[in-house]
């Protein structure tokens, strides 16, 4: 199946994440947003952040930041990876949670 059906949800998430980060006093320098869907049907949106030497990566990986992101996105799982760059991973769809995204 094509990942195009997740494109509206991906756009919404891409616009929401900077706002949540800004509420926590973090600078939302987003370099790119990558949408992909695995063979098992899991759709992932990777929001790649632009590394800034003045910022601390651990601030972006704080639990309250991740919790607020997930809450604001309707309970979607949000993970962060600080290896090989800083990026957020949002699980947009899976066989289990796909029905939650129908409202977007």
């Amino acid at each position: 199946m094509s990942a195009n059906r997740y494109l509206p949800a991906a756009s919404y998430v891409a616009q929401t994440i900077p706002k949540i980060l800004a509420q926590h006093g973090l600078k939302p320098f987003i370099s790119r947003c990558v949408l992909t869907e695995t063979e098992r049907g899991a759709a992932w949106l990777f929001v790649v952040m632009q590394a800034s030497p003045q910022e601390h990566p651990e601030d972006y990986a704080a639990s309250d930041v991740l919790h607020d992101l997930s809450t604001e996105l309707g309970g979607l799982p949000v993970e962060i990876s600080i290896s090989d760059g800083l990026r957020y991973a949002v699980l947009l769809g899976s066989p289990i949670i796909l029905k939650r995204l129908n409202r977007f």
């Binding site: 990942a3 195009n4 494109l7 991906a10 756009s11 891409a14 616009q15 900077p18 706002k19 800004a22 509420q23 006093g25 600078k27 939302p28 320098f29 987003i30 790119r32 947003c33 990558v34 949408l35 992909t36 869907e37 695995t38 063979e39 098992r40 899991a42 992932w44 949106l45 990777f46 799982p77 993970e79 990876s81 290896s83 090989d84 990026r87 991973a89 699980l91 899976s94 289990i96 949670i97």
Partner: protein, 325 residues
């Protein structure tokens, strides 16, 4: 032979007298006695002394010449006597003897004159030396007396100056006392003194007010105004974003949240773009990217970086047990 012997003795006497006279001409050394100590020549004062010395010198020279002439004549007479003796001319011999006696007498006189002249010269020389010594002594004594007089005069001048200073101090004290007394002795004088004192104080206060207090007031007022302006500007810069946020929360008609991050208001609502652009135009503020223009890329899950990202994320979710994919 007897006459000849007498003539020879006369000649010898003449020679001795001539030698004595010549020896007296030389200036004698100290302590040398005169040939005739009984002789005491008189000293003429001033130029007469020099004239006497010259006369003695002339006497000596004339005496020497005359003695030489006399010796020569005696020799001639002696020769004549020898010739007369040879000729046995008794008359001539007698004549020659008388002439020889006269010559001897004359030589004696000349010798005495020369001796007297030499004594006169020595006396004059000694007297002149004594006069010089007396003159030098007198001059030294005069200089000493002048110096002593000068010292005495200086001392007297210093004493007089000290006396004058003391008198001047006493006069000044007396004047001050009289002035103070005249200022306060009578009620009218006291009033006048009070008036003068008040006038001086007023003048002093006016001077201070004109040149010190007024400029200080101007400077302080200017400083206060400048501080107030600076404080207002700083307060405006600090508080204006919050005020803008409040006003926007009141005026805005949508429910989108307003963000105040690092003194910047983030509002994606286009209706309030004016305020947002005002905030963003401020210098030295970081520029946020436009999130509306973010493009979502759709990439195959098998691309190397994306595949790694998927594997890493799913592995983390499995470990946490938060979701089963």
């Amino acid at each position: 032979m007897k006459k000849r012997r007498i003539a020879t003795m006369m000649i010898l006497i003449l020679m001795v007298l001539a030698l004595l006279a010549c020896g007296s001409i030389d200036s004698p050394g100290p302590g040398t006695p005169f040939a005739y100590p009984a002789f005491t020549p008189s000293i003429a004062p001033g130029n007469n002394q020099e004239a006497a010395y010259a006369a003695a010198q002339a006497t000596l020279a004339a005496g020497q010449r005359e003695m030489a002439e006399l010796s020569y004549q005696a020799t001639l007479v002696n020769q004549n006597m020898d010739q007369a003796a040879n000729a046995a001319a008794q008359t001539t011999l007698d004549y020659n003897q008388r002439q020889l006696m006269e010559l001897s007498f004359r030589a004696t006189e000349v010798s005495q004159n020369m001796t007297q002249a030499a004594a006169t010269q020595q006396f004059i020389t000694k007297h002149t030396q004594m006069a010089w010594n007396d003159t030098a002594t007198a001059q030294s004594q005069a200089v000493t007396a002048v110096y002593a007089a000068y010292i005495l005069k200086v001392t007297q001048t210093a004493q007089a100056q000290g006396v004058l200073d003391v008198q001047a101090t006493q006069v000044a004290q007396s004047n001050a006392t009289l002035a103070a007394y005249s200022l306060t002795a009578t009620p009218w004088a006291a009033i006048q003194a009070e008036i003068v004192r008040s006038r001086d104080e007023s003048n002093r206060r006016a001077w201070w007010g004109e040149y010190v207090v007024t400029p200080l007031k101007v400077i302080l007022v200017t400083l206060v105004v400048l501080l107030f302006i600076v404080g207002a500007v700083m307060a405006y810069r600090q508080l204006m974003p919050v005020l803008d946020l409040r006003l926007r929360a009141i005026w805005r008609d949508n429910s989108n949240p307003l963000l105040l991050v690092s003194r910047k208001i983030l509002d994606p609502d286009p209706s309030h773009r004016r305020f947002t652009s005002w905030v963003l135009r401020q210098p030295k503020l970081p520029q946020f990217p436009s999130y509306e223009t973010l493009q979502v890329e759709i990439i195959s899950p098998f691309d190397p970086p994306v595949a790694l990202w998927i594997e890493e994320t799913e592995q983390k979710l499995r470990v946490d047990g938060r979701i089963q994919i």
